[in-house]
Amino acid sequence: MVPGAVATRLLKLLNDGREHYIKGVVIALGYNHRQVSDAAALLRRRGFLTATNNGFYQLSEGGLIAVKNNVSITSGPIGPTGAARFTDTSFRARAWRAMRVRRHFSISEIVGDAVCTERQPNSNLARYFRALIAVGYVIEMPKRRRGTKQESNGFKQYSLVKDTGPRAPGYSRKRKVLHDFNLGKDIPCVAN
């Protein structure tokens, strides 16, 4: 069955705006009770169905507008979920791959490996490193490589100590987590 098909039919069935008894709705739609109640829950989450009262369904103002606009209910998120999305073509994905080959590296070495057309790869990578360090995937080595400018403190050296797999972890500043696509989990991460 196409995702959202039952919910769409329920939406259209309730288009008069009145309360409808659930058993009647189930019979009218021709689906089982579970399917109809799941569809009702979906419409409630979208704000199209008002809270039922002893087994009655009624469309909300939003639901009536949706019917008028011939809205079809489909699967998938209805807005930003905040969940990290994996892409293997991003700068950070390329950087992660380079880190896994080198194991011990400086920011400039990884920039050299991963950069394509990014405008500020160094600062981008520095932010990513801070997140990876905060969760213990990368550590900063105690010794720096000597810098070339007089006022330089030297170049930090890093080591990848926790390689969980080929997919680059994604950092969400909004949710303050590092999502590890290899492990399929969020790791709390407060990186500046």
């Binding site: 791959r97 380079a98 400039s108 070495e109 050299g112 490996d113 070339t148 400018k149 007089q150 997919r167």
Partner: protein
Amino acid sequence: MRPDFVETTNVREFHGVIRAMEDRGAVEACIVVVDGKPGLGKTTTMARWVAQTGSVYVRANIGWDYSWFITDLLTELGFQTIPYGKIKRYTLLIKTLSDRAQAARVQGKTFTLIIDECDLVSSRGEIMEAIRGISDIQSLPTILVGMGKLRDNLRRFPQIESRAPRKVEFLPATLEDTRALMVARCEVPVAEDLVAFVWKVSKGYNREILEAIAHVERAGLRLDPDPGGAGITMADMAGQVIMNDRDTGQPILVPEPV
């Protein structure tokens, strides 16, 4: 030091061999052997290649047996749960490699399998045959990276040697490579005499050339040379350390002008 990646002779040859392999006549001749001494740029080349192409990269383990090797490949392809049974694992591996190779072709990219430090397992027929089998079935360009014994060991397996007609030996950098590295990476201009000196004392090892660049840059930024000038010369750096000798560890100084 600028982080720019420089296409040296070795890198150009590597890319050329990969391109030639994609145009190859013999469908099963899809193994490339890349070897050379440490410090000649193999790791940098592989790191950039893997980063840019998303190729599958595994580091050989001296403890590998057939099962472990296949498991490591599956883990590298992103599988957290490995199926039980040799046939299931192998079938999953072949299918996944095929899907990834196809997806790369659709995007016009080159997808390869890279096995680094292959010297560690190159004398083991079981592993080398497994590599040959995977490479053959998929016509998957497979890059075996090693340091010294790899090429010699492959001669013991003629059925594999015949599939690796292309070999890339990373050689010491040429004078032109050294000049290209110094122009691209050094933040101060460098005069020709100093370039030639760096090439000579580094013996063409990239690691030492980069070390020299750091020293030249340090000296150059203190001297603040004219940006349009000839650059830092040997005379400017006379008596200063340019690099450490890789054999003895002793500092190499730029000689005083005669």
